[in-house]
Symmetry: C2
Subunit: 316 residues, 2 copies
Amino acid sequence: MTIHHQPDKAAPNKDLIDAVRAFNRFYTRQIGLLDEGLLKSAFSLTEARVLYELAHREGLTATDLGRDLGLDAGYVSRLLKKFERLHLISRVTLVSDARQSSIALTPAGRDAFAPLNKDSHDQVAALLGRLPASEQERLVKSMRTVQRLLDDNAEPKIPYLLRPLQVGDIGWITRRQGMLYAQDYGWDETYEALVAEILAAFVKSFDPKWERGWIAEREGEVVGSVFVVRKSDQVAKLRLLYVEPSARGLGIGKRLVEECIGFARARGYKTLTLWTNDILTAARHIYQAAGFKLIEEEPHHSFGKDLVGQNWDLEL
Amino acid sequence: MTIHHQPDKAAPNKDLIDAVRAFNRFYTRQIGLLDEGLLKSAFSLTEARVLYELAHREGLTATDLGRDLGLDAGYVSRLLKKFERLHLISRVTLVSDARQSSIALTPAGRDAFAPLNKDSHDQVAALLGRLPASEQERLVKSMRTVQRLLDDNAEPKIPYLLRPLQVGDIGWITRRQGMLYAQDYGWDETYEALVAEILAAFVKSFDPKWERGWIAEREGEVVGSVFVVRKSDQVAKLRLLYVEPSARGLGIGKRLVEECIGFARARGYKTLTLWTNDILTAARHIYQAAGFKLIEEEPHHSFGKDLVGQNWDLEL
DNA sequence: TCATTTACTTGACGGAGTCAACTATATAAG
DNA sequence: CTTATATAGTTGACTCCGTCAAGTAAATGA
């Protein structure tokens, strides 16, 4: 149903900019507080950051370190020399390029890093420990969101996964569908109510043998869903297909429809049918590509708009 | 319905700690990148931070600056001396304490700060500009969440406000109620479905003269809600009262119930009734305090549990 | 009145980080 | 193959950010 192209980039407004700046000032201080604890160690803050990188990644070169931590090449060179003198690291010249060498912590290096690591861990644990568990999760979720949005090359390893319905999903799907259609097509709150009604009925009369829902999840967030419900022995109905704007272009819509078709076939249905509206072109393309045929169209007035409803069928 | 005491603090698990640490490393780098742009100016980073504070707050003392920015007192003293020499600030000894003085930017100080401020503003604008508008808002919302959770003394100015229902609310309320009751009482997904059904019906048959919903919002987030629906000319029913755990203790539940009672009275109803379950003790206290009387109790099996339903009435 | 604390100042100092020049190797162009 | 250019890393020289400790003056408390 709601599937269309990625939204365009937009010039930010002042309130948002100020909020980001306020956050930056706040977090500058926050990081400063956390770093204070580490200052008592034999290593400077930057040395600790370098050790952290070395402890968690393999085969780094001096340039890698400088780039990823934003450090001056000369400074990195000196740091590494110091570490080498203390026997904390070992360097192996790369066969592919004799200018570079692969840097690794020695066992002594790991020993030196361990207490630093523990201090940092404990300090964050203390910070988190001040909050109740549910708030801890909200915090981490928000941090992940910030990080993913700001980090260009932070694409999740798993683009998305499909899972069955769980508590909280039907409310979320109701909300998102309601908001998306209101935003994109000006539909009123009766559409959101319709989604709520459909999902409530789905759960109440759920028959696992004949019906199923799929939730597409990405980084712990719901980014799409679809449902198959039983109309009769012969006919199943695909309902409420949607994909979040932020997750479009990954083939999630196509995949969800394929799952429906596979399920309907496996359960022996003869026909998979669906109802949609003509303005939802992106969804239509998916249905067409999957082999659905337009059966009939009829105008209707719903959700505060004049619309043209469409019934599509796929013979299984 | 769901109103109970604040949850306890909990020892954080390792995944959450690691996620926070990852975020700290990420944001250390992020702030470093943003700061690079400011380095070309005549002021050091810390000087710029001090100027920012002075430009945005009045009547600061040297100690205030040092405390809020986490700086050494000696260093602050020197910075201020330099600023004074450049005629960027003026100091007025406090009458209440001759050791302290109130620091203010001079017009020249404001002029010196303006380009710094603009650079920082533009840089953040560029950062945000890379994202589509909807993502910009998600980013800022997440940042606000992080800041509010970590900043002890960052209570919002307005504790909460009440507003009417809008698109997206019924899904959100459905989700949150479903999740809260699942978590706290082990109710299954049929409760969430029931909430969805009630809210769908509310919207579909909504009669503004006789019915109303209130949403409690705090910092742009829904933290509670309640609905009054018409049962007959004489009888109104209060439904779906809930307050987010994070927003409890602010009197939101009491306020929501009061709104319902006021509305029911104003519309000429004779009775306000409600159905709840005996295990929801915090909600019961609110009803009792508002004058509701327990009319009847009866056991029932719903949402996967054995429960005792209660009907409460308030004569208006 | 005297001891203690607080706000700020000042001298002395260290080391984190920068800049530019340099060597050695790799890559691209002709 | 030769030559020009780019990249990886090193090193000397330097700056100045920020810390530490000692000191002064005022405020507070006993």
